[in-house]
Symmetry: C2
Amino acid sequence: MELLKQRIRRDGIVKGTDVLKVDSFLNHQMDVALFEEIGKEFQRRFAGCGVNKILTIEASGIGIACVTAQFFHCPVIFAKKSQTKNIAGEVYTTKVESFTHGKVYDVIVSKQFLSARDRILIIDDFLANGAALEGLIDLVDQAGAALVGAGIVIEKAFQPGGDRIRGQGIRVESLARVQSMSEETGVEFVD
Amino acid sequence: MELLKQRIRRDGIVKGTDVLKVDSFLNHQMDVALFEEIGKEFQRRFAGCGVNKILTIEASGIGIACVTAQFFHCPVIFAKKSQTKNIAGEVYTTKVESFTHGKVYDVIVSKQFLSARDRILIIDDFLANGAALEGLIDLVDQAGAALVGAGIVIEKAFQPGGDRIRGQGIRVESLARVQSMSEETGVEFVD
């Protein structure tokens, strides 16, 4: 998605060779006009797939998921990160390791809102090592729901998550795939 | 806002006399079509106030804030809950006590995204004891930004936060003000 790549080139800040800060428009300050274009593009790519619910994970996926859901005319559920013990039976639970924060979270979704009748599109801001996305996929599997695919805003294609998850036969659509980055030369995209 | 009150009456679940669960449409599963109506109503109430940025707090405020921002044509910033020590100088920090989780969080916003040039509308899903809202107001004050007011989806008017904050001269617009609730009689609204 060219508009997004331009924005990353212009406003993204590269630290070292693997940190890309996009908090001026994506995940701290949020440019909702850009989110509308992102939502339209996800809708274009997953049109006709029968998506009836979007699943994301708190916190930075929520804004993108909600704006995207307007184009699918469906609700959003966000999986919650929890460090508290949950009541068995009421929620689907999975574990997600955050490499950024050096923690393992329990990630939960209420069983009420995810069922075998659902056709789920997962939306998230970043895909790198794939831990968060695999956690969300596990929640969809536990519910017996159909997974239509995952829509990712920025994929760090030099990290293993995207290839591993595509290797499981899951459709992953990333709007900007970063091949490499450096503080000197900036961001290089795949293609 | 009548549509919202109807939805709360229909789908809200009252536990005891002070817990109102609205996680089927507001803060776990999110009905973005309802959020559009909420956003329009906030825009109607704060039209002409020169809002150039919306401030909210993770996680459940983010979806409502993003959809609302589409009607104001402005970006959103979400304040982050952090239990890690932050680098002095780069962020505004305040402390917020969560009564639900029995914890005190540091809540932070990058100084880059909040400044004396901004006219801020705060958006959040709930107002009860007022701790989260007062934290957000403190962040706006630290930045020297102008606070236009706060737009709240559901206010528990029987808890002290709303009155205390209005008593400081701050404009608080709540779309549904709950006067009392019980498992037997459901939710009663102010007015």
